[in-house]
């Protein structure tokens, strides 16, 4: 993502946007860490 942003918005914005994006994703994953219920599981084969 950083590599894609770098030539488009410059180093500072690329760093900031990348940090925000991954920070938000990590926060969401931790906050919503409840696995969906499923009748069939691919990690049980």
């Amino acid at each position: 993502m950083y590599g894609w942003l770098l030539p488009r918005v410059g180093r500072r914005w690329a760093l900031l946007l990348t940090a925000l994006w991954f920070g938000a994703l990590i926060a969401l994953v931790i906050l919503l860490a409840a696995e969906p219920k499923a009748g069939f599981r691919y990690d049980d084969l």
């Binding site: 409840a34 696995e35 969906p36």
Partner: protein
């Protein structure tokens, strides 16, 4: 044991650290030891059964080289063991050894390629590391030995692999927990259920789509986590999905969905049946039937496999018939054809998912509502 459990993540993190800390010649043993220790702690019978399968596979290559009946017997033995466990599991008598479905196909791949003498020169430790590779042992992908062997030569973990690996692991968790679990299951599906009974058809249709996407995102998420963890260990394993719901026909769909399984079936089953019989439709039907049975040895997966086999055979027949014809005369006609192809493929896949994701009565209720509009 599930990929999302924190203990699994702990095992993965520890194995990555230890594997990179070990000197190069000890690395394959370190990789295998970690996966075996994980199996022994989580499910000791799985460790024993998979070890026996590894010994048979190695022995077949070391002793049976060049003997066609010998290699056939080993393949039948490996696949027979998987089938026996699946039948026992369907009857409720047994739990399948951890990761056995993926593991067996890796063993068969190794045994057949070694028989064909197409593998690079390697040691027993590299073979054991390939089979007992923690990131892919629980939920695939069914990666191949030559690529794994190539990456074993890697001596340092570059920044690109670390960045790609962490990113894939995070995207995998986000697909499962945020999009599939929270957005679709907790937010969207209750809202869809609230549409009934006034909008029974719309509610059922949206539910079918949401359940299909949930299944896809969850499995694609597992694959992302496995691929990301593999990169952190220094290995680039095969991709498992390539935007499958954008496919414009069912053959294309199966080139984009669970790619490691479908490419295995194409190379070792479809090609074999086709070369023996010269009947592509029979080869397609048997390939899809085996993919169905690989999931579960139950009537619903037999029907699902046959339905997909007939669809693939039908698509192949249509493509051959059109091959000699003329291309669409105008751009709008071509676009309309592409849209129709996507529409039919997408809905066929979603409707077939209903059949295997629910019990028979519930699946029939969903089909009835979609056909009649009545709840």
């Amino acid at each position: 044991m599930q990929v999302l459990e924190l203990s699994w993540l702990g095992w993965i993190a520890a194995s990555i650290i230890v594997c990179w800390a070990l000197p190069g010649r000890w690395r394959p043993w370190g990789i295998a030891a970690f996966a075996l220790a994980f199996l022994a702690v989580e499910d000791p019978p799985s460790a024993a059964i998979l070890s026996v399968m590894a010994a048979i596979t190695w022995w077949s290559g070391a002793r049976g080289g060049g003997q066609r009946p010998g290699i056939a017997a080993v393949v039948v033995l490996l696949l027979g063991a998987l089938a026996a466990f699946k039948v026992a599991m369907a009857g409720g008598g047994f739990a399948l050894p951890l990761g056995m479905s993926y593991y067996t196909f890796r063993c068969v791949h190794y045994a057949l390629e070694r028989f064909k003498k197409s593998l690079p020169p390697h040691t027993a430790s590299e073979f054991v590391a390939y089979l007992f590779f923690l990131p892919t042992i629980v939920a695939g992908p069914i990666h191949r030995f030559p690529e794994f062997h190539r990456d074993l030569k890697r001596t340092r973990l570059g920044g690109d692999l670390v960045s790609e690996g962490l990113e894939r692991v995070l995207y995998g968790y986000a697909k499962i927990l945020v999009v599939s679990g929270w957005l679709i299951q907790e937010q969207l599906q209750p809202w869809i259920a609230g549409l009934e009974p006034a909008h029974a058809w719309l509610s059922t249709y949206l539910y079918m789509l949401s359940a299909g996407y949930m299944g896809y995102l969850t499995f694609a998420g597992y694959s992302d986590i496995a691929i990301g963890a593999s990169r952190l260990t220094g290995f680039r394993v095969i991709e498992n999905f390539n935007n499958p719901f954008a496919s414009r026909n069912i053959v294309e769909f199966w080139r984009r969905w669970h790619i490691s399984l479908t490419s295995w079936v194409r190379d070792y089953l479809y090609a074999t049946v086709f070369s023996l019989t010269r009947k592509p439709y029979l080869a397609a039907l048997s390939a899809m039937l085996v993919i169905g049975l690989w999931h579960e040895v139950t009537a619903r997966y037999v029907i699902w496999g046959l339905a997909h086999g007939l669809a693939v055979a039908g698509c192949q027949w249509y493509q051959r018939r059109r091959a000699g014809g003329t291309a669409p005369s105008s751009r709008p006609r071509a676009m309309l054809g592409a849209f129709a192809g996507w529409f039919v493929t997408f809905h066929f896949v979603m409707l077939s998912c209903v059949f295997v994701m629910h019990d028979f009565d519930r699946a029939m209720d969903i089909y009835r509502t979609l056909l009649t509009g009545r709840p």
